[in-house]
């Protein structure tokens, strides 16, 4: 068994000249707060049985998607795995449609057919949540291929957990992406655990960024507890992709403050309560808010007002979901094929005969 490595994560210290982009900073903090409150509301709804299935929360990791997606431009694409509510919000999807999807309602972004793990918005170029570890990476490669094929100025941003990096799909995709210089930004959200398995027990090489070197691909390590660092590193990678120089692998070092899914306790078998409490001292939202206060960008009062606003948005989203209708049973056979079943021969279960 691999020996446990020293704590790899520096305490978050927001970097960069924040005052230069006052609005961006406020916007990013607001996004992170919204993600946090939205998911806290999600957890409540799950606890009383309003939401079913697997439900993986992003609490603790907000800085990653926030900073990285903030670095994108209109027309760029985002795709991720199943821990995806924050990415969906950050891509500008309506919180009501996200919550309604969690509730399995007809008004949900996937019409109640996807649930927590499978949200999509073609309108927002949000290419979804995917449930098979590593399965989304080749798909993202395909999107990057399309961008190059059509000569577009877009970037494809794909997220994965660190555990996905061990899958063959990751390695095959990196090779082709680098070989063909595709406009792909790969972001590994290293929250240190794949379910109950610590990264040092799953990978022969601790340093994920180094894996890119096998494919002659540039890489970077970003502080996943700091939205500004995420923004800076992703922006660089996106610029490189846009100018035709190809893909970048970014390792974002972060931490999940909650269990793997709603059915997994916060601590216990694979990490202690103390571990989690210690990591929580690096809460990306609190640290960033303090930093902005010090810089005179956002006062305590304004922060409280912002918090009240995003709580209300989350509450409204839940209310919208609550008030929405369930999908009609007739929807069962809709959207399985793109073409309509003109002669009644597409479906094979003969239930309706």
């Amino acid at each position: 068994m691999a020996k446990k490595k020293a704590d790899p994560m520096p305490a978050a210290q927001p970097s960069g000249d924040a005052s230069a982009q006052r609005d961006d900073n406020r916007e990013m903090l607001r996004s992170m707060l919204l993600q946090r409150r939205f998911e806290e509301r999600t957890a409540e709804a799950y606890a009383i049985g309003k939401i079913g299935g697997f439900c993986h929360l992003y609490i603790g990791q907000e800085a990653v998607a926030t900073g990285a997606i903030h670095a994108l431009q209109q027309g760029d694409y985002v795709m991720t795995a199943y821990r995806e509510h924050a990415h969906a919000l950050q891509c500008g999807m309506d919180p009501g449609s996200i919550m309604a999807e969690l509730y399995g309602k007809a008004t949900g972004c996937s019409k109640g057919k996807g649930g927590s793990m499978h949200m999509f918005s073609a309108e927002r170029n949000y290419l979804g949540g995917h449930g098979i570890v590593g399965g989304q990476i080749p798909l993202a490669l395909g999107v990057a291929w399309k961008i190059k094929y059509r000569g577009e100025q877009r970037v494809m941003q794909v997220y994965m957990g660190e555990a996905a990096v061990n899958q063959g799909a990751f390695h095959e995709s990196l090779n082709m992406a680098a070989l063909w210089k595709l406009p792909l930004v790969l972001i590994v959200e290293n929250n240190r655990f794949g379910m109950g398995t610590a990264w040092e027990r799953a990978s022969s090489l601790y340093d994920i960024a180094q894996k890119a070197s096998a494919y002659a691909m540039p890489s970077a390590v970003a502080d996943g507890m700091d939205p500004l660092d995420m923004y800076r590193v992703t922006k660089e990678a996106a610029d490189r992709a846009r100018s035709g120089e190809g893909p970048t692998l970014i390792e974002a070092r972060t931490y999940r403050f909650v269990g793997h899914s709603m059915s997994d306790p916060v601590s216990g078998v694979y990490r202690t309560k103390e571990d989690v409490e210690r990591e929580k001292l690096k809460d990306p939202i609190r640290i960033y808010a303090d930093f902005l206060a010090k810089q005179g960008i956002l006062s305590q009062e304004e922060l409280e007002k912002m918090d009240a606003e995003v709580r209300e948005i989350s509450e409204k989203a839940a209310q919208f979901a609550e008030d929405s209708p369930d999908p009609e049973v007739g929807e069962l056979y809709k959207d399985v094929y793109a073409q309509e079943d003109v002669n009644g021969r597409l479906y094979f279960d003969m239930r309706n005969r």
């Binding site: 499978h118 570890v133 794949g194 398995t197 027990r201 279960d349 239930r351």
Partner: protein, 326 residues
Amino acid sequence: MAVITYREALNQALAEEMERDPDVFLMGEEVGVYNGAYKVSKGLLDRFGEMRVVDTPITELGFTGLGVGAAMTGLRPVIEFMTYNFSLLALDQVVHSAAKLLSMSGGQFKIPITFRGPTGAALQLAAQHSQALEAMYAHFPGMKIVVPGTPADAKGLLKAAIRDDDPVAVFEGEMLYNLKGEVPEDDDFVIPLGVAEVKREGRDVSIITHGKMVHVALQAAAQLEKDGVSAEVLDLRSLRPLDVDAILATVAKTNRVVLVEEGWAFGGITATVAALIQEEAFDHLDAPILRVTQADVPMPYAKGLEKAAKPSVELVVEKVNRVLYR
């Protein structure tokens, strides 16, 4: 006999076989420190150590291939798929290597490997996490497939699978793990592969099924009894080898058949069994064979849609009434 859960029965089977044969080891995601995603391997790491209860990275193709290679050269691996959904990533190693090596090598290399894990829909897990894939595995010659529906069958069939010299895939019902039942404590309690069991005797109609659907069939039979219909429930237990004699016997007895499976109809287990019955027992049939399967759609997330997509007791009752022309 002790009354234990399906989960505990599988755990006992693993522990007993590992105790009995030092070549048996368990490998998969979260099987060790985490005690198994569904807790089937609880306590085994403490008992057998980390060379025999091995946590792997999330690399289905890699660790499955590793298992096949180890089996080729003398070990008896048990490979746990966290769920069979993820085994699709490993299918190349299962189909092209495990199932075919004995034949391709002219009988030189036996592959005594067991694949196991949960299958089927649970509660609102949506399209990528709710599938019954046993029909696909059963498609390949060289594979053996068992689908236990009760705790006793779970123990007896898993033990038989581990002792078998061929690749055996054991499909455990994701919703059955907490099911309780009587299970023999005998260390040598094995249920031979390829032996079906009549789970309920009946005269008027045969409901032939396997796995989790055995319980749907039994509920339907209980309901039908109130209407004066005596339904026999035959649990196939093994899909490969298939107990053809038991199938033909029940058809000869009741002359009417409803087939039930959790998976899709197209190319399904029920398709194979229906073909077999009409080829070998056509003269015994008093009505066309009807089937109950999952709706021909990827499993939706929403509760109501999911319910509508799954095979149900009501559908089974309806089909039984139809083969009885009622």
